[in-house]
Symmetry: C3
Subunit: 337 residues, 3 copies
């Protein structure tokens, strides 16, 4: 695809070369995200960061990525403060807001709303999550993390084994990540979930049609063995029609130090899209793994900034100019790790 | 008036030369709003964008205008997050907030609150809407749009015919626009509304005293003929004491393709302050006109950025320096239209 | 202490030389806060302004201070829009958010939450208020104001007399200010409050152990005499278990023109942490003193910007570089006083 001026609505729009391109630009963003260098390549540009559903992490991550390229951020954080409550159509909102900015990130609770919005927008739109449907930058940062973690262990995405654990029915991130994995070869996916929260059959079928091996199981400990990556998810209680039903599943599949040591390969990477539910009755990924070197969950969110910088740079066609507009950083930039 | 350091509270403070000045500076802002050039003339300046009543469009438009001149924006979007709930007076809020910024835009649900706030402020204040009372930048952008649209058709504001349609009783925008039209000559206004939602008699009297011709009617189709501009408005349900009463009027005056073609002159400009209510029972301006070349509603919101840039530039006395502080734009700036 | 990269969590971490250092850097920030000069020393840096409890004044003051040094601000204003409602731990929030910014200001309703957050953060954290507990930048700006006000009258903090009035039990600011006063010598504190809202005994004991003289009284008029500074506070109704109980005390201790003139020394400085409650039944500091030259309450909030700029400059180690990165200001900067 041609990223220049493109909308980013769905992972389905990417071919493997597109993903490679995003990852290569993301690699180049590291000195800026790590505050070794500062770039002003988008100095004067404006991001419309339109969040019609709350999401602190995604919102701040996109905003920060744009600031790191030198741009301004104008933001909306609440659907109730918007004209939508006065009966305004997505078409009108898009026509208006796209007159205020150079690129828009939009999150909205309604499936397909962002695509509809993008159709009317005069500037490029990135889907920041349309309800339970798509969240392409999350899928890209997940895959980018897998790539970097595996490469540091001399492995790669092609041929890898990955276990996905938890609420695979409602988890938007595992759906999108599975879609991206269709671009790769010879992957084994072990899908660990309650029977009622299994990965949608259509996705399983697609994975298999692509030549991937898919194993579905309710036996977590057996499923954990022999994986390069374990990708855990939270029970998405907000997606249940009856929230009480979520209580049945919460806390059923947990990874902690003991279970990890007993079942996983010693260099299995641990991932989670966050937020993880750290309340006692949930705790799908225990805090006793917080210091584990294979716990990649915060490298994931850090990578999110790189991937989002890459998307902005590609869409606004400045990927080759970032370094020219760069300078050294003069303030305290040490990080505690 | 001297714009330097002035508060912008009401359209009544403008003479015709003042409006001309704003429009002339707004014209000069076009290359910046259209991302041909980027200016840093207000680099380091801070806008306090204080919205004590929700308004995504106006808030983002002002913020974007300030960013386009290179400045920072600090924002408040909700009255509940403010000290006002702890019994703080507008005087105190103004004294404090004006110590944080170079200029303030304030929106507040209470009539005359912004004028009261401005009296205590140490920096210039722009009224971003004080309840049903005033919203001067909206009136300016409406008139600026009329001027540009008519000029593109070799006509001008003096001598024009304009129809205003809908809730003319509560519509702040038609009141303010009427005030501005007092600065011009020989205008014919056709006021189309339900009997109960007529333009306030005082405004009608002022228009007539100024030599304008005013026709009031409930017959929309007759009223639409022979106009340079038709300005539609939404039923302002939030201004009704009894919201249910608003339902009686909603949907009563609608403009769509068929009605337009049947009644309007072929180059009649269609305007609306937005948001338009696109719910089926309202739909005062139908989507079937979205592609019509005379539909100026999104040019209106685009012009809002120009007019607000002009106000900032004049108040902060940098109108003549914008171009000196300018550079070329290096990112993707094509727009879909 | 070494400010470079430090967390600012509590006033207890300061020695007198630290406070001196902050005040000296704050003095140097004046040309920037007063818009004589503009500095870009933090150009490209990002502040994470995380407010999980509303506070317009503190939030905007910190954001403005960061902008005045040239940096970007990413903001969160509402706990409900955050992952915390999905069971996320402060540890996770801190790990994630600290990957997005160079420094974080955090406000949170829970005592000790900011310290817990800071422990997991990879970047420096400033406590912007953790419930009724600490708010160190407020204490610093209060003391900085006292210092500047007294110096303008050829007096100093050592040896001064100060009266604190109102809700001394719940008032976080008077607690923190008292802590800072332990770094100074020979101070007389007159604590005027209802018996039930007295300063906590532990703080009184500390002040006395430090050699300060403490007088506790319910007799306001007697207590007001012979002070360099009178520091008034609002009844903190939101900190009462039973809000109705707050009504008993509201309005009991009031300072107005007549009481001031009758009881205070002619150059007694009047302070208040704001917001003051200007509702008729409260009105602990009357508006009839608004024009009094000794009323320092708005100089207090102005000083807040200087002190916060100083904290950022010290933590990010740019205090010596601010002037090098400076330029003249080209826009209208006159202030109405």
């Amino acid at each position: 695809m041609d990223f220049r001026g493109a909308h980013i609505i769905s992972v389905k729009q990417f071919e493997r070369t597109d993903v490679d391109k995003v990852f290569q630009v993301a690699d180049n963003m590291e000195p800026y995200a790590h505050r070794k260098r500062v770039s002003n390549v988008l100095g004067g540009a404006i991001l419309g960061n339109m969040f019609f559903e709350p999401s602190t992490r995604t919102r701040v991550s996109f905003g920060c990525a744009f600031n790191l390229l030198g741009g301004h951020v104008r933001e909306t954080t609440d659907v109730k403060t918007s004209s939508i409550t006065k009966g305004e159509s997505l078409y009108d909102t898009a026509r208006v807001i796209s007159g205020y900015s150079d690129v828009i990130v939009m999150r909205h609770p309604k499936v397909a709303s962002v695509a509809e919005f993008a159709k009317a927008s005069r500037v490029p739109v990135i889907n920041g999550g349309d309800g339970p449907n798509e969240h392409p930058s999350q899928a890209l940062l997940d895959l980018y993390t897998i790539k970097k973690e595996l490469e540091s262990k001399q492995r790669k995405i092609d041929g890898m084994h990955i276990a996905m654990v938890g609420d695979l029915k409602h988890g938007r991130t595992v759906h999108s990540l599975s879609q991206l994995l269709l671009l790769y070869e010879d992957i084994k996916l072990t899908l660990i979930s309650p029977q009622e929260l299994r990965m949608p059959a259509a996705i399983v079928a697609e994975l298999q049609a692509n030549g991937h091996e898919v194993v579905e199981t309710e036996d977590m400990e057996a499923g954990l063995s022999d994986n390069d990556t374990v990708y855990l998810t939270r029970i998405q209680e907000e997606r249940f029609t009856n929230r009480l039903e979520a209580d049945i599943y919460r806390g059923r599949f947990r990874l902690n130090q003991a279970i990890y040591t007993r079942n996983c390969q010693p260099n299995t990477v641990i991932m989670h899209p966050l937020p993880r539910d750290s309340r006692e009755d949930a705790n799908e990924l225990d805090n006793d793994l917080n210091q584990h070197p294979n716990l990649a969950i915060f490298r994931q969110t850090d990578n999110g900034v790189l991937v989002r910088m890459a998307l902005f740079a590609l869409i606004l066609d400045v990927a080759d100019k970032v370094d020219q507009a760069a300078a050294d950083v003069g303030w305290y930039t040490e990080r505690r790790f």
